[in-house]
């Protein structure tokens, strides 16, 4: 199995502020981490390799400092790491990002990277969404660009064999068991596994690992589809939602507080009693 795990480097908090003068996000002093959902995708990729053999390559698009996230992924057990980085990619929305990542994945099918030989990619994994943008649109977009199927919100991979994969996909009211052919793009929810911690051996490997950097020109794709120029959506403004002020608080013995709550609810015409 040749597995590629797409990861994103995100701020280690969602508690971001907006600079009121420039109307841009203040990110200074906030550490960067691998998007938490992508850690589950990486763990699943490593488990596939442990069971079926093969390789796991981590791939990210981002600025040069995104190599930190890639090194962390190596310490967690990925074989090789690839950074897609170029000023031309700046300002990409989900359409341009999916296009760029798909072009990189196609490239990784054609070339050897370190210990990972050239050859068709079988499974592309990523988290269901990134915690900064919260869109979840890149996975299906990558699949469409590669003209292969995708399944989102995977909570379990049941089996892989004979060019086919069986998965459980989480839905609002339960889950569906679905099968599809390889290659495939899968996005995972965190129910899928319990990620391991980095090993000492992994940490040492991460330090020395040579990370392949792919520039725009190396992707052999239409440059008009990269970055800001390749992005149909534009952010018109960002703003902080008004802070809620809180309502009535009752303190005291349960008999009193519960009584006060039920009286308030009744006064507002709300019943929480089962019909």
């Amino acid at each position: 199995m040749k597995v590629i795990v797409c990861i994103k480097q995100v701020p280690d908090t969602t508690n971001v502020r907006i600079n009121p003068e420039t109307n841009t996000l203040v990110r200074e002093g906030v550490a960067s981490i691998i998007n938490p959902f992508d850690v589950y995708a990486l763990e699943e990729g490593i488990r596939i390799r442990e069971k079926h053999g093969g390789t796991v390559t981590v791939l990210t698009m981002g600025p040069p400092q995104a190599t930190d996230a890639l090194r962390e992924a190596i310490s967690l057990g990925a074989d090789e790491a690839v950074l897609v980085s170029d000023r031309a990619f700046a300002g990409a929305d989900t359409l341009a990002t999916a296009f760029t990542l798909a072009a990189a994945i196609r490239k990784l099918g054609a070339i050897a990277v370190g210990t990972v030989p050239a050859g068709q990619v079988d499974i592309i994994l990523m988290g269901r969404q990134a915690i900064d943008g919260d869109t979840g649109q890149v996975g299906p977009g990558v699949a469409e660009n590669l003209a292969i199927p995708h399944i989102t919100d995977i909570r379990k991979i049941e089996e892989i064999g004979g060019g086919r994969i069986v998965v459980e996909r989480l839905l609002e009211e339960g889950y569906a068991r679905l099968a599809t052919s390889l290659p495939v793009v899968l996005t995972v929810v965190k129910e899928i596994n319990e990620p391991r911690l980095p090993s000492l051996k992994g940490k040492l490997a991460a330090k020395k690992k040579e990370i392949l950097i792919l520039k725009a020109a190396e992707l052999e794709a239409d440059p008009e589809r990269f970055g800001l120029v390749g992005s149909p959506t534009q952010v018109m403004k960002i703003f902080t939602p008004p802070k809620p002020s809180g309502g009535k608080k009752f303190t005291g013995e349960p008999a009193e507080t519960v009584g006060a709550l039920l009286a308030e609810l009744a006064a507002s015409g709300i019943s929480i009693r089962r019909m």
């Binding site: 969602t14 508690n15 929305d93 989900t94 359409l95 999916a98 296009f99 915690i131 943008g133 919260d134 979840g136 649109q137 890149v138 299906p140 977009g141 469409e144 660009n145 199927p149 995708h150 399944i151 069986v166 996909r169 839905l171 609002e172 009211e173 339960g174 889950y175 569906a176 068991r177 679905l178 099968a179 599809t180 929810v189 129910e191 239409d222 992005s231 149909p232 959506t233 534009q234 952010v235 018109m236 403004k237 960002i238 703003f239 902080t240 939602p241 809180g246 309502g247 608080k249 009752f250 303190t251 349960p254 507080t257 519960v258 709550l261 039920l262 709300i270 929480i272 009693r273 089962r274």
Partner: protein
């Protein structure tokens, strides 16, 4: 696939396109021996420059489709109206559908353009009455037994085809698991912009563009997004945020049957659907949700939460802390990395109110918090709060509800 083609089912042989084409690339012709009135337009791809003049001339019949526009230079004038995805599964329309129709009908007031529902699947004609009763002007239906509920690769292809043929300027889908999987694939096919999980939609009065407002960073910031130069402007809309469309007494809309659209073979194979028994009621649909967090302290204490859920007829939710501790399955998790809910009443028990949790529930109509820490941030968003030990407060609440005091 050819970059431009004629839909023979729609072509009436009127020859308007022939006259409109500046490059003499279109002729009328029919099968050998056919009567002249059976002739349809034929495009000479050698001569065609994809200028779109014929598409504009054929506005009425929508028989000419430019399949894959180049990324730049779309003729925006060809696009009008609002379309919504009529998501359905296992014999029912998704409840988000009436909400997005409601949102579309609001936008319609500013755009004065028709609202259409795109309905794709097997045996879907049975949903058309319900859609029309929500006040849509047209249902664009592709009813074909070969389309499975989970064949998103094929559904994306069909929806893209419908969009290319009917050319709405706005296309909305539900921010459901399926909507958020299908629409990105459609957008990538037709090369347009898509904004995820919008909580507010409006028409910009100056430009008439769709202002798509959505939370990011777990709800800490809001962003308003525009799709200026590509059509349709696509967005998924968060469930339980928009007001459902009011039913109309005398539906006037019509069904346009597009079932002639070819259905390719899907690579997705459906095996089975398993309803989650542990979630007493589907969290997303529940009117009352009782959620437990770190303050529950032990998995067996979740019985206390369940007792209140039972007394209120509600569903059981949980914070990430409770799920991460392994006290309750992930399917119950409410919050940024779990489900977004908007019940009539949300009762948060022993939940401190981390911003990630608030992101998933602060749209609830009424929030009640029970927490022993009077400074817990959950009280900032709660309409009513009880400061106290949940193991004493909840049994008292259950007792009062069950004794009908």
């Amino acid at each position: 696939m050819d970059p431009i083609r004629v839909i023979n089912q729609n072509c009436v042989g009127c020859s308007l396109c022939v006259k409109a084409c500046p490059y003499d690339a279109i002729t009328l012709s029919g099968p050998p021996g056919a009567k002249p009135d059976k002739a349809t337009a034929v495009i000479d791809l050698e001569k065609c420059t994809l200028c779109g003049a014929c598409v504009e001339a054929c506005k009425r019949y929508k028989a000419i489709v430019i399949t894959r526009t180049t990324f730049k230079g779309q003729n925006l004038k060809l696009y009008s109206g609002i379309a919504v995805l009529a998501e359905h599964r296992r014999g029912k329309l998704a409840s988000v559908v009436s909400e997005i129709i409601g949102a579309a009908r609001e936008l319609q007031k500013d755009l004065s353009a028709p609202v259409s529902a795109i309905l794709v699947g097997s045996g879907v004609r049975k949903y058309t009455d319900e859609l029309l009763s929500h006040g849509v002007d047209e249902v664009w239906m592709v009813d074909n037994p070969a389309i499975g509920d989970f064949d998103e690769d094929v559904q994306a292809e069909i929806v893209a085809e419908v969009l290319l043929e009917r050319r709405p300027e706005i296309f909305l889908g539900g921010g459901t698991i399926v909507g958020r999987s299908l629409l990105p694939r459609v957008a990538a096919k037709i090369l347009t912009g898509l904004t995820a999980d919008c909580t507010e939609l409006a028409i910009d009065p100056a430009t008439m563009l769709l202002r798509q407002t959505r939370p990011a960073f777990g709800g800490n910031i809001m962003a308003t997004i525009l799709t200026q130069n590509h059509r349709p402007q696509m967005a998924t809309v968060r469930h339980k945020v928009m007001t459902p469309a009011a039913k109309v007494d005398n539906p006037q809309g019509t069904v346009i049957d597009l079932s002639y659209i070819e259905v390719p073979k899907s690579k997705i194979e459906f095996l089975e659907f398993v309803e989650e028994k542990t979630a007493m009621v589907n969290l997303v649909e529940a009117d009352v949700i009782v959620s437990g967090g770190r303050g529950i302290k032990d998995p067996k204490n979740f019985a206390v939460i369940e007792s209140l859920a039972l007394a209120t007829g509600g569903a059981v939710g949980a914070s990430r802390a409770a799920v991460d501790a392994g006290w309750i399955p992930y399917s119950h998790q409410v919050g940024q990395t779990g489900k977004t809910v908007k019940p009539k009443v949300y009762i948060a028990c022993g939940i401190s109110g981390a911003i990630q949790h608030l992101a998933g529930m602060k749209g609830s109509d009424m929030i009640v918090a029970i927490n022993s820490d009077p400074n817990a941030p959950i009280f900032d968003v709660a309409h009513y709060g009880i400061v106290g030990d949940l193991f004493k407060v909840i049994p008292e609440l259950v007792r009062r509800l069950e004794s009908r005091e």
